[in-house]
């Protein structure tokens, strides 16, 4: 797929010969997330589709209290300081962005009046600016009007290094200008095909200038509003106990008609995921429970309680096996897995190919993750309902054996295949987590049949995922041949995500293992194409380059993708809501309502 094909495809969408969905599916196969694909369409002059309107109630506040159960409790309510999704979700009860991502990766307008497009002059074709028109007549909870000044202020606030906002990544490389009271222009200091990041979705929630202005920079911690939000959202702040409970009451001045349906909202935090699932689907004490990372067997049983049902969202989380291209058993310059070394066996492409054939993704999906995940062989793409049929993964022990035999890897006296005295015997590490240990077992058994010996190792998650330089069991050190965990492109634009295969990003002692290339795979062609993407102005050409990069990673078996994990929540039967997968669980809270049985 090159740039010309890409343009041709967008032309076909324009003429109606290819559906938007079809286009997103094709992009997904090529490794581009759905939001990225819809952005490309926008550049190509195809406007975003409207989020289907499904909200039925005709009166606000008729629904009593909406009870949400988050098993991790929110600890603060300023979206710019959210240390996890729990804080983002809780902030979203009160704060809103200009637009949010719907499940189809279209922008749903919240505080913006229209989606910027090439036709309406909202986006520059070279990706250097975007113009947002704001909704008029929106008021903050204290009655002050919401204007362009607030939007500009949020950029100043978040990009000020003294503020130390966690959203800074979305605001550091832009400039925001006020054109009039209801129009702002976002200028990108580098060409940014993915224009819908600042002021959009979780990182885009807007705080009021008139309250936060004195607390910009180093004083940001002292703002009383960090715990007492004043936003534009469907609910007004009532009370907050950090680590326990957030309460809100209906905002009768809300800017969308007939919304919200509930007169009040509460978000209880704490406990564990399993009992949260029970509190919704078995006892209906709560209306919605978030992030149910519970084994599929148990979830099925709890859902049989009948009071609620599971809600899934196509996420971007991918459980994958990484292959170490360096030698974890040789110490060079005080570190193992040094870039000076070469993995004696896994550096052979044939061996990697054979290993990939020995991973039974079907069994992992069927027996371990159930409906909460789906098998995939594709690393870099989005929703798998688009992908599963098109990509091919294969589980074939015989084929792996033939491949190894043909290339001189013969069984030794102990049954383990070897060549030139180098044995196919690897250490395979991951974090302690039951599904992961079960997956390790499945891979180990298949490898055993093919004459490959795997030693399994499970490490406490708090150690494995820490950045502790003094500990040898962390995932960036990768002192093993294989390792497995879940990762996700937090940014819909692949620019940052693709850095993890750059030669310059190799995690080593010299950079305190902060480098993002953990497999330590180095490829000159990859580096060259990546360098070109950083200067390429044309969004189409750039997208085509990313597709090439993805192909390189897949063809070289740098990683073995296993399962796309879905976001799982549970809602009581009456509650009507959808999860987005590209945005917070509470992305369209204003539209949640209960269908009362007639």
């Amino acid at each position: 797929m090159d740039e010309k094909n890409l343009r041709g495809m967008i032309e076909r969408v324009k003429e109606g010969r290819l559906s938007r969905r079809g286009f997103i599916q094709r992009m997904a196969v090529l490794g581009l997330t759905a939001p990225m694909a819809t952005q490309l369409l926008a550049f190509g002059g195809v406007a975003m589709a409207e989020t289907p309107f499904t909200y039925k109630p005709t009166k606000a506040g008729a629904g009593g209290t909406l009870k949400l159960l988050w098993w991790e409790a929110p600890t603060l309510l300023n979206p710019h300081f959210a240390t996890g999704t729990k804080d983002q979700d809780a902030s979203r009860l009160f704060y809103e962005p200009l637009a949010a991502w719907d499940p189809e990766a279209n922008l749903k307008l919240i505080l913006a009046a229209e989606v910027p497009s090439v036709q309406n002059g909202g986006i520059a074709e070279d990706g250097t600016f975007v113009i947002w028109k704001l909704k008029k007549g929106v008021k903050w909870h204290d009655g002050q009007p919401f204007t362009a000044d607030d939007v500009v202020f949020n950029w100043e606030y978040a990009s000020n290094p003294q503020t130390a906002a966690v959203t800074a990544g979305s605001y550091n490389y832009i400039k925001v200008q006020k054109i009039d009271d209801y129009t702002v222009k976002v200028l990108f200091s580098r060409p940014t095909p993915f224009w819908a990041d600042p002021f959009v979705a979780a990182n885009g929630c807007l705080i009021p200038k008139h309250l936060f202005e004195p607390y910009i920079g180093a004083k940001s911690r002292q703002a009383p509003w960090n715990l007492k939000p004043v936003g534009t959202g469907p609910y007004k702040f009532k009370s907050f106990t950090p680590g326990d409970l957030v309460e809100g009451v209906i905002n009768t001045d809300y800017h969308q008609p007939y919304r919200p349906y509930f007169a009040a909202v509460e978000m209880k935090g704490g406990g564990d995921a399993t009992s949260a699932a029970r509190a919704v689907m078995e006892t209906a004490e709560y209306d919605y429970a978030w992030d149910l990372q519970v084994s599929w067997d148990l979830l099925k049983k709890i859902q049989a309680g009948g009071k609620g049902r599971l809600k899934f969202a196509a996420g971007t989380d991918i459980e994958h096996i990484q292959i170490n291209f360096t030698d974890p058993n040789k110490v060079v310059d005080g570190q193992r897995s040094s870039i000076e070394t070469k993995n004696p066996t896994l550096s052979d492409p044939v061996v990697r190919k054979a290993l990939s054939l020995l991973v039974n993704r079907g069994a992992v999906e069927k027996y371990i993750y159930g409906e909460t995940g789906w098998a995939t062989s594709n690393f870099l793409n989005g929703p798998a309902q688009y992908v599963s049929k098109k990509t091919s993964w294969e589980f074939n022990i015989q084929k792996a054996v033939d491949l190894l035999e043909a290339n001189g890897w013969k069984p030794g006296p102990d049954g383990i295949r070897q060549k030139d005295g180098k044995k196919l015997s690897w250490l395979y590490q991951t974090s302690i987590n039951q599904p992961r240990q079960e997956t390790q077992e499945i891979v180990k058994q298949a490898c055993h049949k093919a004459g490959i010996d795997l030693q399994l190792k499970a490490i406490l998650a708090s150690v494995y995922f820490s950045s502790d330089v003094g500990n040898d069991d962390t995932y960036p050190k990768f002192y093993a041949d294989l390792q497995m965990y879940t990762t996700n492109p937090t940014d819909p634009d692949p620019g940052f995500w693709m850095q993890q295969f750059l030669s310059t990003q190799v995690a080593q002692k010299s950079n305190k293992w902060q480098g993002r290339n953990i497999t330590r795979w180095q490829n000159a062609e990859y580096d060259k194409i990546y360098a070109e993407t950083t200067t390429e102005l044309d969004p189409m050409k750039r997208a085509a380059m990313f597709i090439q990069l993805n192909d390189l990673v897949v063809d070289n078996v740098v990683v073995i993708p296993l399962i796309f994990r879905k976001t799982v929540g549970a809602a009581v039967n009456e509650l009507q809501m959808e999860l987005s997968g590209w945005d917070d669980d509470t992305w369209d809270l204003a539209d949640w309502y209960k269908e009362t049985k007639a």
């Binding site: 996890g84 130390a164 990544g169 106990t241 950090p242 209880k268 006892t283």
Partner: protein
């Protein structure tokens, strides 16, 4: 028992508390994890932001300097602020304390109400059928961890029978009698779990203590005077047998805080225990320090209190 003795004991707590705080601080500093771990693994957050946060929270200083900072601030009554919610630790703790106290207080009362009569009856009729049953139940009671009994109660009373709620709520919308009733309903299970766990251990102590006293000569004398058995038990046996039990309860009180950590987590009670767990999980050092330190103070103070109480109840004991 003199005033000098109390003063001396209080003085002795100072080095203990210093030592305890230094050890806890060292352990927390050595433990893996980082308060900004979640931010570090989120590639959207620029490293500069994390660096700035670390700097502003003083995390880049050497451990001993951080400890001294903490110690001096603590001496001035400044407990620092929580990394995760960015508010003062004292505010957080005082928000949580009342719930814990009510639940733990109720559990301790339940434990005493169950343990004393059962223990006394079992002790005065050793090896009777009642004693054997009481003993067996007590063993089961303190062998089963609270997280297990808690989950069993939830499964039976909330999931199967649907009698009791299992998510503890502090925002009950009703008032008056209904509010009280709702609170009782939601407290039944956690209080039962904690109370019976404590009570089971206490039964054994009461029984042992009663057994000791029953054999003493003065009890035989009382009986031979022809005083009724009931009176012998209440006036003569229990009075003396409970002296060590009272001190034991006092010493155990801080332990109840520890036992409540798991129970609070299971029932989502917003108390000190659940605050401690979530702070440990998010590596929120100032909060963990403050809570563990409060526990340490409680343990030391209650020990002192138990000693003094013992001497007051039993004049034969004298401290110099």
């Amino acid at each position: 028992m003199s005033r000098a003795y109390i003063l001396r004991r209080l003085m002795m707590t100072i080095p203990s508390l210093l030592g305890i705080s230094a050890i806890i601080y060292a352990i927390l500093a050595l433990a893996p994890g980082d308060p900004f771990g979640q931010l570090l693994t989120n590639p959207n957050v620029p490293p500069a932001v994390v660096a700035q946060l670390r700097k502003s929270f003083g995390l880049d200083d050497p451990v001993w300097l951080r400890y001294l900072h903490w110690l001096f601030a603590m001496l001035h009554g400044n407990w620092g602020f929580s990394f995760s919610s960015r508010i003062n630790v004292s505010t957080l703790i005082f928000e949580r304390l009342p719930v814990s106290l009510v639940i733990l207080g109720a559990a301790e009362i339940l434990a005493i109400l169950v343990a004393v009569p059962v223990g006394v009856l079992a002790g005065t009729r050793p090896y009777s059928l009642f004693d054997k049953i009481a003993n067996t139940l007590a063993f089961i009671g303190f062998s089963l961890p609270t997280f297990f009994t808690g989950l069993v109660l939830i499964l039976v009373f909330s999931i199967r029978l649907r009698w009791l709620p299992f998510v503890f709520r502090t925002d009950l919308s009703v008032t008056g009698i209904a509010w009280l009733w709702q609170n009782i309903l939601q407290s039944v299970m956690p209080v039962t779990v904690l109370g019976l766990f404590q009570g089971a251990a206490l039964v054994r102590y009461v029984r042992a203590s009663v057994l000791d006293v029953v054999k003493l000569d003065y009890v035989t004398t009382a009986r031979s005077k022809g005083i009724g058995e009931r009176k012998v038990i209440t006036r003569h046996i229990v009075r003396n047998a409970l002296i060590p039990v009272v001190t034991l309860v006092a010493v155990q009180l801080p332990v109840v805080f520890g036992g409540a950590i798991i129970t609070e987590q299971i029932f989502r009670i917003p108390g000190m225990g659940s605050l401690l767990i979530s702070s440990i999980l998010s590596d929120d050092t100032p909060v963990v320090m403050a809570i563990t330190f409060v526990y340490a103070v409680l343990v030391i103070l209650f020990n002192l209190f138990a000693d003094l109480l013992y001497a007051w109840l039993d004049p034969r004991i004298a401290y110099r």
